[in-house]
């Protein structure tokens, strides 16, 4: 996404660009079909995706890094598919990125200002990191300016705002109790335009890719759940897609790490797995070129795609409120109440529960209207 992996002339569409690069029309259509699948769309829409991508020029992306750890940037540069992934990411022109840009200081700031002016109303704003709101925002400055001021300025001309990763989603680890700097997510600051939350600490790169393709193809953001997360990625619980699900149903549990059950690949629920409470595409998309995912490596899920997971999902090795024996479909509905009882802190748990209930109600609403998928937020 950031790199001129392949040059792109001003008058060239993606298809001819790819062809020049030695990618056949067939490969390109195959890629479009895969993206259609990732986005959870009907295969009938593949030609529409192909047509949109063929015509598209590289839209500008401004990437702001606020209070964060750079793990989300690292995740995106791990984007998997070596041929097709590169090509897709090449769709954008990354005009501002602390981690990757050549210029520094004033020259970097100038590049950002120029790009935001020239592409006003059209660029995509990606934000990683949270905004510290305590004490006038002194806990983060860049160029002597606060995170809030930088964010508000950049959001003004953005066509869409993508909050990438747990920090931008809700503040992540620095917002865990007692939240020393008053860190908040992007949608707590930007209220006048759609904010997509690409949840996860960090998120899987493919979800970012899919969101961008959706925006470029359909001219709007994908449908979101009640917490602003794209349904094509966060529509299912890990538990519902987990390759170890059959072990859960059969009552085959790891009791302590590296026991006989662990060596047979049994379910990690008793050692704290938060898969039953976590909406995330990990078991489907997998990580790092479809190599594996946390449960596949024998470690319980810590629930990192859920708002406030540092408080609501910890201690990480303590199992969720007793849900064994509860019907799985019923589970999502009862989870909120169970968590709220279990958490002394309370507030965070309510947020998580609310998120799930919102998803449920959105879906019910969508089903009632006969609309395909869940309506989610206003998608602009």
């Amino acid at each position: 996404m950031f790199l001129p992996v392949e040059p792109w002339t001003a008058d060239e569409g993606l298809a001819s660009h790819l062809e020049r690069r030695g990618v056949s029309r067939r490969d390109f259509l195959q890629f479009c079909a895969e993206m259609t699948a990732i986005l959870g769309l009907s295969t009938a829409l593949t030609p529409q995706i192909a047509e949109a991508l063929e015509k598209s020029k590289r839209p500008t992306v401004i990437w702001l890094q606020l209070q964060e750890c750079t793990g989300c940037v690292e995740s995106v540069i791990r984007t998997s598919d070596p041929t097709v992934g590169d090509l897709l990411l090449d769709i954008i022109s990354l005009d501002y990125s602390h981690t990757l840009m050549a210029a520094a200081g004033e020259a970097a700031e100038k590049a950002k200002q120029t790009s935001m002016k020239e592409n006003f109303g059209k660029y995509i704003l990606i934000v990683t990191g949270s905004v510290p709101t305590k004490d006038g925002g002194v806990y983060f400055t860049s160029g002597g300016r606060t995170a809030q001021s930088l964010l508000e300025e950049a959001a003004k001309g953005a066509a869409a705002v993508i909050a990438l990763g747990a920090c931008a989603h809700f503040g992540s680890v620095q917002s865990a109790k007692p939240n020393p700097t008053g860190a908040v997510g992007i949608d707590s600051i930007i209220k006048d335009k759609p904010v997509v939350n690409i949840a996860g600490c960090p998120p899987i790169a493919d979800v970012v890719t899919g969101t961008l393709v959706h925006f470029l193809t359909f001219g709007r953001l994908p449908d979101l759940d009640g917490d602003g997360r794209p349904l094509f990625a966060y529509g299912s619980r890990i538990h519902d897609q987990c390759p170890r699900r059959a072990k859960f149903d059969a009552g085959q549990f790891v009791q302590v790490f590296d026991d006989e059950a662990a060596r047979k690949g049994w379910c990690l629920y008793h050692v704290g797995c938060k898969g039953p409470a976590t909406f995330s595409p990990c078991p489907i998309f997998m990580w790092n070129g479809h190599t594996n995912f946390p449960i596949g490596a024998g470690h319980p899920c810590i629930g990192c795609t859920e708002r406030n997971f540092w408080d609501t999902m910890s201690p990480f090795y303590t199992r969720l409120p007793d849900v064994y024996g509860v019907g799985v479909e019923k589970f999502a509905d009862t989870l909120g109440a169970a968590l709220a009882v279990g958490a002394v802190a309370g507030v965070a748990a309510h947020a998580a529960a609310t998120g799930i209930h919102q998803i449920q109600s959105r879906r019910a609403e969508a089903a009632a209207k006969g609309a395909p998928g869940a309506g989610g937020k206003d998608n602009g």
Binding site: V138, N179, D258, R263, W287, N288, F293, P294, A297, I302
Partner: protein, 571 residues
């Protein structure tokens, strides 16, 4: 000529948020201030939590050093609770950490540091035949053909012609400090792209053992990835074969691409072997335990301290000598700001006294950063690859001596050249080369142990909190890609009472201490340091990037009073 005030903020191509201010006079830097402008307070967040969760919280200090805080945290808690991890788990941690080093150093060289030395625009005018001829002389890498370089150049030309320069916008192209011939610039640009593909392949070793990268999973007491050759969900022959492939590809790339490029580029910048030396003391806590965690003499990279650039003596390291001060930092100490506190007594209350944003300058203020000032026996220390290589060299580490001598000979410079900006960059390459070979030895050991029937990866004897003492404290040390790291944990009634980290970039980005002694970034920028054009501060980027800053790591806080403890009750 009058002094010019220089500000570079943001310093890009680093992890996190760093501001450098300087004064320039007659083409040289006369004074410098390093300022960290982000604060998150993660250690405060950790009070009252389950110590077994600590690795996950501290791991999020940094997503670039995504292994190091997790492992240091596990070691601290294991030290506190008296847990000995199985040797298989130790080897797996070495493999995971080793691949972190290799991948991180290569990314640093090509994607964070190279553009300080490589003029991308100049590559447009190269003759690809020259690039191929030069590359053939320095490396057997099979892709270095005329066609390969011609194709890269054509891509670059079309890209530039398209008018959307993306991340290359406003680079300091054409700056007189760029010295590489066009053909070498083109080689570097081609390998910049090549390294992007390479890194996402080899890092999958983390995904096999830890489930994902960034932020793979760890476990107090060992590793969660069970070994069973006869199961499809565990470490088995298929997984081992994948890992072997990555180790081989990592080594090939380091030997045939990274090191040849590093030496070729360094050959054009030998003047940087007398620039930017700075702080003359070097510290390594050592890394890659090949015996037990207490067998300090069995560390692959040894532990020790070099003082005043004197390579004839290696001084012992004892963590009791570590203290932190805050005279230049936005914190206060209850016993007065001049105190120097050991991490077990560590105390931090954020106390911002800087100007109200937006502001223009910090220079001249007594306090100017969120970074504390760590000192060892009262002295500032450089940490990182150069420190490790110097300590190993002076300790008589044969492989290190051979490789350091090879690099010095290739460049035609003496040992004094190591104490410089170029020295830091070269040392990073040398240790990557060593580790790329050592990974194979560790992997072979793991396979041999599995073959002998030992598949244990976790010690469960102290897993249950009921087995823990009421009070415990532990120290977890680790030498990370960017240098020496320490985690200190105090556990009381099964919960974290106090947690403190002293991190590589805290050492290197340290501000002035109570005696006015500069930290390593500041000292390096004022040591025979050029700055030809204050509006295009390319030289500052070279020296700062030679340290590979990781700012999110460097800033942390703990409130020893624990008055927030009561609020941190979860579930």
């Amino acid at each position: 000529m009058a002094k010019t005030k220089v500000v570079v903020d943001p310093i890009t191509r680093i992890e996190g948020h760093l501001r450098i201010e300087a004064q320039a006079e007659n083409g040289k830097i006369s004074d410098a201030w390093a300022s960290s402008t982000q604060f998150r307070g993660i250690e405060l967040v950790m009070q009252g939590r389950d110590p077994r969760d600590a690795w996950a919280f501290t791991q999020r200090i940094c997503g670039v050093c995504t292994v190091v805080h997790a492992v240091a945290s596990c070691r601290a808690v294991e030290d506190a609770l008296g847990i000995t991890i199985p040797q298989n788990a130790n080897i797996i941690r070495n493999l995971v950490h080793g691949m972190q080093f290799i991948q991180d150093h290569v990314i640093h060289f090509y994607h964070l540091h190279a553009l300080d030395w490589v003029d991308v625009v100049s590559a447009l005018s190269a003759d690809p035949k020259d690039s191929a001829a030069i590359a053939a002389k320095i490396s057997p890498w099979p892709k270095n053909s005329v066609t390969y370089f011609a194709e890269t150049q054509q891509r670059l030309k079309t890209f530039v012609a398209g008018g959307q320069l993306g991340i290359f916008t406003n680079g300091y192209w054409g700056h007189p400090a760029y010295k590489l011939p066009p053909a070498v610039n083109l080689i570097a640009v081609a390998h910049y792209l090549e390294a992007l593909d390479w890194q996402r392949d080899v890092i999958r070793l983390h995904t096999i053992f830890g489930g994902k990268n960034p932020h793979p999973n760890f476990l107090v007491g060992g590793m969660a990835s069970a070994i069973n050759l006869d199961n499809d969900a565990t470490i088995n022959a298929v997984r081992l074969a994948e890992i072997q492939g990555m180790i081989t590809r990592a080594r090939t790339f380091v030997e045939q691409v990274y090191i040849p490029d590093l030496l070729a580029i360094a050959g054009f910048y030998k003047e940087w072997a007398s620039i930017g030396g700075g702080t003359p003391n070097f510290m390594s806590v050592g890394e890659f335990p090949e015996g037990g965690i207490k067998d300090i003499d069995k560390l692959y990279f040894p532990r020790g301290i070099i003082l005043n650039k004197d390579l004839t003596k290696v001084h012992p390291y004892d963590h009791a000598g570590v203290t932190e001060g805050i005279t230049s930092s936005w914190y206060s100490y209850s016993g007065g700001d001049k105190a120097m506190l050991h991490p077990y007594e560590g105390e931090t209350k954020p106390n911002y006294t800087g100007p109200t944003p937006p502001w223009e300058f910090l220079q001249g203020l007594d306090k100017y950063t969120w970074m504390k000032a760590p000192r060892y026996n009262g002295l500032p220390m450089q940490v990182g690859p150069l420190s490790r290589m110097l300590v190993a060299y002076a300790s008589g580490h044969k492989e290190v001596q051979e490789n350091v001598n090879m690099v010095l000979k290739t460049l035609g410079v003496g040992p004094a050249a190591l104490f410089s900006t170029l020295g830091r960059t070269a040392a990073r390459g040398i240790e990557t080369l060593l580790l790329a070979g050592r990974m194979q030895a560790w992997f072979d050991q793991l396979v041999a142990r599995i073959k002998s029937g030992d598949t244990k990866t976790f010690d469960s004897s102290k897993w249950e909190p009921s087995t823990w003492p009421k009070n415990a404290k532990g120290y977890g040390w680790l030498d990370a890609p960017r240098g020496s790291l320490g985690h200190w944990v105090i556990i009381e009634n099964e919960k974290i009472k106090n947690y403190q980290c002293v991190v590589p970039s805290t050492w290197n980005c340290s501000p002035r201490d109570g005696k006015g002694v500069m930290g390593p970034y500041e000292a390096a920028l004022t040591d025979n340091h050029p700055l030809v054009d204050p509006t295009r501060p390319l030289e500052i980027l070279r020296t700062i990037h030679s340290f590979d800053p990781c700012m999110a790591c460097g800033v942390h806080v703990i409130d020893v009073k624990g008055d927030l403890l009561a609020e941190v009750k979860v579930q």
